[in-house]
């Protein structure tokens, strides 16, 4: 192993332990790691955006590929610099309004076509026993689950009486789904922790024999 590789491993191990030290309490080592981490990412992102957005997506296509109309998003981006001058900072609202407006508009179509309609179609299941008892039970669970969950998110009436009972069924379905999500995600997090611990025990400890 080269000395540069060993140095890299030690730096990574230091920052791993520095961040883990927060589990005990906030301390100067954690603070140091936190500030280096934040500063590094800020600097890295400036370079990343300059190269991948300004150069690759705006400047090169506009200058070398003749896509002159890209000056429109370019100007919208440029307007954001108006924020440095309080007197003209209102100009940047044009870009913000553009982003927020297009997001809302595009979101309606994509969610409706990509999520709502297909989900509706998938829920329209035959409730009889055509495909066997198990399939019928599954279909009933899916339809009841979707309908009762939608009713839980109905805000126009107080959840009392039959509506309240259905909403309560809905919240049970939601909680069962959350339980499954919780277990699944925790499993993922544990595997991340195992990755870090593995790094410390094998990669970092492995350098000890080379140094000492």
């Amino acid at each position: 192993m080269t000395s540069v590789a060993i140095l890299q491993i030690w730096i990574v191990a230091f920052f791993t332990l520095a961040l883990f030290s927060f589990l005990y309490k906030d301390n100067p080592v954690y603070k140091l790691a936190e500030h280096i981490f934040a500063g590094l990412t800020a600097g890295y992102q400036v370079g990343l955006v300059w190269d991948t957005v300004v150069i690759q997506k705006l400047w090169d296509p506009m200058i070398y590929d003749g896509k002159w109309w890209l000056f429109v998003p370019g100007i919208l981006g440029f307007l954001m610099f108006a924020r440095f001058w309080p007197k003209y900072s209102w100009v940047s609202r044009v870009s913000l309004a553009f982003v927020m407006g297009t997001t809302s508009g595009v979101f309606i179509t994509t969610q409706l076509h990509g999520l709502v309609l297909p989900a509706m179609k998938s829920t329209m299941l035959p409730l009889g026993g055509g495909g066997g008892l198990a399939q019928a039970v599954l279909a009933i669970i899916v339809v009841v689950g979707v309908v009762s969950t939608l009713i839980y998110f109905y805000f126009s009436k107080e959840h009392t009486g039959a509506l309240g009972v259905t909403a309560k069924v809905g919240i049970w379905f939601i909680m069962i789904s959350f339980g499954a999500h919780f277990g699944y995600t925790v499993m993922g997090r544990v595997s991340l922790l195992i990755g870090r611990v593995y790094f410390l025990f094998y990669d970092w400890f492995g350098t000890f024999s080379e140094i000492f």
């Binding site: 936190e34 940047s92 997001t103 409706l112 709502v116 107080e158 939601i174 959350f178």
Partner: protein
């Protein structure tokens, strides 16, 4: 004019009108301009828009529109009040995603309402963000809230601050802030990912009252476990209308409720038809291409 002609003419007309912007569109098959197989989406959008506009119209006319109580949102004012009493700041995180995510926009919208309350009580507000555009939008919204409450002089440009562009650098920084400054109230509203539990658990350890809201089902369990109140999915999007009680937003929310009823009715009709071996055409209509 039949639809085939319309398909041929539409790209040409658009090309004359919009010039080179249509170059890509013309290079594609004509159906890229108007796809009949996506007619279902168009009809649904028109129908949904009609309901929302109808309720908005009624709301503007002053027709009373009822909304049931959402405990998590009722707690917002109480939580800010607690921060005022304790003389500690309110921490608001509008998610960690870009401004081109609808949850971030919902978070920014709620931020406007929270900022009005903090301005009213002279409570310090801290809003760390991860993206420059969210920073700009957040600053605009908070500034506007302070102006509307007549507290323009109390507005601090650093209320909304850029922390870090990387997910866990952001989280490390906010967690450090929570343990050092111990804000009385933490409000998380927007898109959250793997950092949700790290933030909520640290806030809990710092003794803050916590209200969270996100539409990410995989993160909601963590917020439910570690926060005092949690807004789930649709409740997040309803929050700004609920908090502001503005007729325009309330109308939109009521319109969405009617859409939900329509969806339920369609699902039930589809299921009943499918049960009796009919409804293939009806169900196929919801096909997404």
């Amino acid at each position: 004019m039949n639809l085939t002609n319309l398909r041929k003419i539409t790209p040409v007309a658009l090309a004359f009108a919009l010039g080179p912007l249509c170059e890509t569109a013309l290079a594609q098959p004509p159906e890229a301009i108007f796809r009949l197989d996506r007619l279902n989406a168009l009809i649904t959008i028109i129908l949904f828009s009609f309901f929302i506009l109808l309720y908005t119209h009624w709301a503007k006319q002053g027709k009373p529109l009822f909304l049931r109580k959402i405990p998590g949102l009722d707690a917002v004012e109480e939580a800010v009040g607690r921060a005022t009493e304790m003389g500690r700041p309110v921490l608001f995180i509008p998610g960690i995603d870009e401004l081109d995510q609808i949850e971030t926009i919902a978070g920014i919208s709620i931020l406007g309402r929270v900022a009005k309350i903090t301005a009213q009580y002279d409570t310090p507000l801290v809003v760390p963000v991860r993206y420059p555009l969210v920073l700009a939008a957040g600053q605009e919204v908070v500034k506007q809230a302070y102006i509307e409450m007549g507290k323009q002089d109390a507005y601090d440009e650093d209320t909304v601050l850029y922390v870090a562009g990387e997910q866990f650098a952001f989280t490390a920084n906010v967690n450090g802030y929570m343990m050092r400054e111990r804000p009385a109230t933490n409000i998380y509203m927007g898109a959250f990912f793997a950092e949700s539990l790290l933030l909520a658990e640290t806030g809990n350890a710092a003794g803050s009252i916590q209200i969270a809201g996100t539409a990410r089902p995989e993160q909601l369990p963590f917020f439910i476990a570690a926060c005092d109140y949690t807004l789930m999915g649709e409740e997040l999007f309803a929050a700004s209308a609920y908090l502001s009680h503005e007729p325009l937003m309330l109308g939109g929310l009521k319109g969405q409720d009617l859409i939900k009823v329509l969806i339920i009715v369609c699902i039930l009709i589809g299921s009943i038809l499918a049960t009796f071996g009919y409804g293939e055409t009806f169900i196929e209509w919801f096909n997404a291409v």
